[in-house]
């Protein structure tokens, strides 16, 4: 019985770590840059494919790939905001219009990135084996690569939180999240900060993709399922709240693990049920304002 509970808890934490990382990225993009980026999962896919390519072609350790893939995806995200979303923002009549227009643009981006990936890597499934052996934790067995994923995901989220709370740039981002116009009047280069936030969101997605590629298959169509999970988590945690997304990721991971223990077919259903209950009972989420 104790072993079963331990199994469920650790499985939940292992999934939750990666959910948290993905959601923190989307939270940056939606909470600050106000872009509900439905192509968020495509940045995860890009991170996973870059890591797979480096590992299979150049034998680069996937953990080393993090410092290569993350910045590449960041640059892509940063310039996408500079070129695409900034123009949409400037041409939109209101904040609401911008959110609607940017979401539609994200849908287009989803298909563009996905199809470019199919052209580059083909539509087939890719993968590799890394740290693919069991580790005994108090009698419960877990994969070494998933434990490493959890440790890195938590570490990345903590570093990111410290960056937001302890640095001058982090303060500017938080100011932009609260009120972009007021932050602009206070001397914050708002366009720069918003592009940076979008790039940082993409960076988190890219890092998540690199970590995911160690224990899951890699394919051009893998992104959407993670986008859906990220949206559920940011609603659960509270829109725009980084700590909320972090906690929400772990809660969703645990819910999935508990349900999956009794009926694996219902874990996705449980996510959606939780999502609907939240919208009805506490639409602001756990730490939302």
């Amino acid at each position: 019985m104790v072993l079963e509970i331990l199994d469920i808890l650790i499985s939940g934490l292992l999934n939750g770590g990666i959910f948290a990382l993905i959601a923190v990225g989307l939270s940056m993009q939606y909470g600050v840059a106000r872009v509900l980026n439905v192509a968020h999962g495509e940045f995860i896919m890009l991170g996973a494919f870059f890591t797979w390519t480096l590992y299979t072609m150049l034998k680069v350790n996937p953990l080393v790939s993090l410092v290569i893939c993350g910045p590449i995806v960041f640059v892509i995200g940063y310039f996408l905001h500079k070129t695409l979303y900034r123009r949409i923002r400037l041409s939109s009549e209101s904040q609401g219009a911008f959110e609607g227009n940017s979401m539609l643009a994200s849908f287009g981006l989803l298909f563009i990135i996905q199809n470019l990936a199919i052209l580059r890597w083909g539509s087939g499934i890719k993968g590799y084996s890394y740290l693919n052996f069991p580790v005994n934790l108090g009698g419960a067995m877990f994969a070494a690569n998933r434990l490493v994923t959890l440790l890195f995901a938590v570490a990345i989220c903590i570093i990111f939180y410290l960056f937001l709370t302890r640095t001058r740039l982090g303060k500017a981002i938080r100011a932009a999240a609260q009120d972009p116009d007021a932050a602009g009047l206070m001397g914050v280069n708002i366009n720069q900060v918003l592009a940076l936030c979008f790039g940082l969101g993409a960076l988190m997605a890219g890092l998540a993709g690199s970590l995911l590629s160690m224990s899951f298959r890699v394919q051009p169509t893998m992104g959407l399922e993670y986008t859906v999970i990220a949206i559920i988590v940011i609603v659960l945690g509270g829109l725009g709240s980084i700590p909320g997304s972090f906690i929400g990721g772990f809660i969703l991971g645990l819910v999935g693990s508990i349900v999956s223990h009794f009926e694996p077919g219902l874990s996705l259903v449980a996510y959606y049920v939780l999502f609907m209950i939240l919208l009805l009972v506490k639409p602001t989420g756990i730490l939302g304002r």
Binding site: D7, N15, I118, S123, G124, S215, P220, E225
Partner: protein, 423 residues
């Protein structure tokens, strides 16, 4: 004028008029050859055979499309065109293939709409099948409505047998559970398997395979520990694997798609679950599985199929042609020889028909027998005859996908128990 003179005048007048009328008609002339006119019967003009294809080039089904029928379709068209085309007697020449391709984005509604467009607007001569079981069922209805021949390739289920009778234009080239499961269960009994755990994906494919497996295993005296359904896109199967490990089952049968099968295999290794028999299908039959996990992990892994270059002389020829073009990871050791054989059959059916009339070609497909990569090949009741299958179950052995069941088609003996996962 005397009466005699009057009659003589009338007779002369009739005679003169007869001659005059006769002279006004052109005299029959010997036929003269016009250098511009065609000789013999009139031959309609046509320079190519247009084949329409709607397939899942993007979306969730694209990995299966890219690994299963997609490369075969492309290679066959190139192969035919390199040989100048298919000879069609009606046009008295070889006609190359022109392929019109649309992407259904893995959406069934889009697929049927585009297939109607191919037939009605593009007026293609023939159509190629879409990707996946549900797509094939829907495409069969469209093809039949427009009386277009449709030979199903990747996808399908034994349920097709029940509906195919009402769809005379629909044929199916792939083998399913009705021939595969008896071969698997027979082999499991012979190897001394005593218990099994079954995981199946909750769709037509999974339901069919688990539905076929449970009673057959029970009848064979194999204890089925559990039968569990999983949804597409499941991200954690650890609880299922732990349960199978705790029960110490001999066989773990995962009737799901590559996504789920990769997860099942990865998590089994991660959790140290090493059953004596491990079958994933469809999944383990694809070359990319071996590419992902390597020979040591794949040693002893089973999947549906099956064929290899030793299955027939034509199979060797096919492999020698396919691998340099697409690479070994792109080989589907379940379906590729069936698809290629079915297309070779189709080519010969068109040649024999001497026309692009789908009704005529359809009748030939339904009744004739041709030599292909599979040997003598024919369809029975709309399905590729069981005798044409080169195998039903395969197993990875020393980096090769060997046919292990049924025994009369086997290229190697089964390895049981399979080796432990490499450290």
């Amino acid at each position: 004028m005397s009466k005699k003179s009057f009659f003589s005048l009338i007779i002369c007048l009739i005679f003169i008029l007869t001659i005059a009328v006769g002279c006004s008609q052109p005299a029959p002339q010997p036929a003269q050859k016009d250098p511009a006119a065609p000789t013999g019967p009139v031959v309609p003009d046509k320079n190519e055979i247009v084949i329409g294809s709607v397939s899942s080039l993007s979306g969730p089904l694209s990995p299966i499309e890219g690994a299963a029928f997609g490369p075969i379709r492309q290679m066959w068209v190139n192969d035919i065109n390199a040989r100048g085309g298919i000879y069609v007697k009606e046009y008295d020449k070889k006609l190359p293939i022109k392929l019109i391709e649309y992407d259904d984005t893995s959406d069934i509604g889009t697929m049927t709409r585009l297939m109607e467009r191919l037939i009605v607007e593009d007026k293609v001569d023939f159509i190629f099948p879409p990707t996946g079981t549900a797509m094939l069922f829907a495409a069969g209805e469209v093809a039949n409505k427009h009386e277009k021949l449709l030979i199903g390739m990747s996808g399908g289920a034994s349920e097709i047998k029940q509906i195919i009778a009402g769809m005379p234009y629909f044929f199916s080239a792939l083998n399913f559970s009705d021939t595969q499961m008896p071969a698997l269960v027979n082999m499991m009994v012979d190897q001394g398997v005593e218990s099994a755990a079954i995981v199946f994906i909750g769709d037509l494919h999974g339901v069919e395979y688990s539905g076929a497996a449970v009673p057959q295993l029970a009848l064979a005296g194999i204890d089925v520990i559990y039968v569990k359904s999983i949804p597409p896109g499941i991200s954690d199967m650890s609880s299922l694997i732990r349960e199978a490990k705790a029960a110490d089952v001999d066989a773990f049968l995962c009737f799901a798609y590559p996504d789920e099968n990769i997860l099942a295999l990865m998590q089994s290794m991660e959790l140290g679950f090493n059953p004596k028999l491990f079958l994933t299908g469809p999944g383990g039959n694809f070359g990319f599985f071996r590419d992902i996990f390597g020979d040591q992990v794949m040693e002893g892994m089973m999947s549906w199929g099956a064929w290899n270059e030793r299955s027939s002389p034509g199979s060797k020829e096919f492999v020698d042609k396919f691998i340099p073009l697409y690479g070994e990871p792109m080989v589907d050791w379940w379906g590729h020889n069936l698809y290629w054989g079915a297309l070779q059959f189709f080519e010969q059916a068109v040649e024999k028909a001497g026309t692009l009339d789908n009704a005529v070609v359809r009748d030939i497909v339904a009744t004739e027998k041709f030599d292909t990569i599979l040997g003598p090949t024919w369809f029975e009741g709309g399905m590729l005859a069981e005798e044409c299958h080169t195998g039903e179950v395969g197993q990875w052995q020393n980096g090769k996908f060997e046919v292990i069941a049924p025994y009369d088609k086997a290229t190697a003996k089964p390895i049981y128990p399979k080796p432990s996962w490499p450290r």
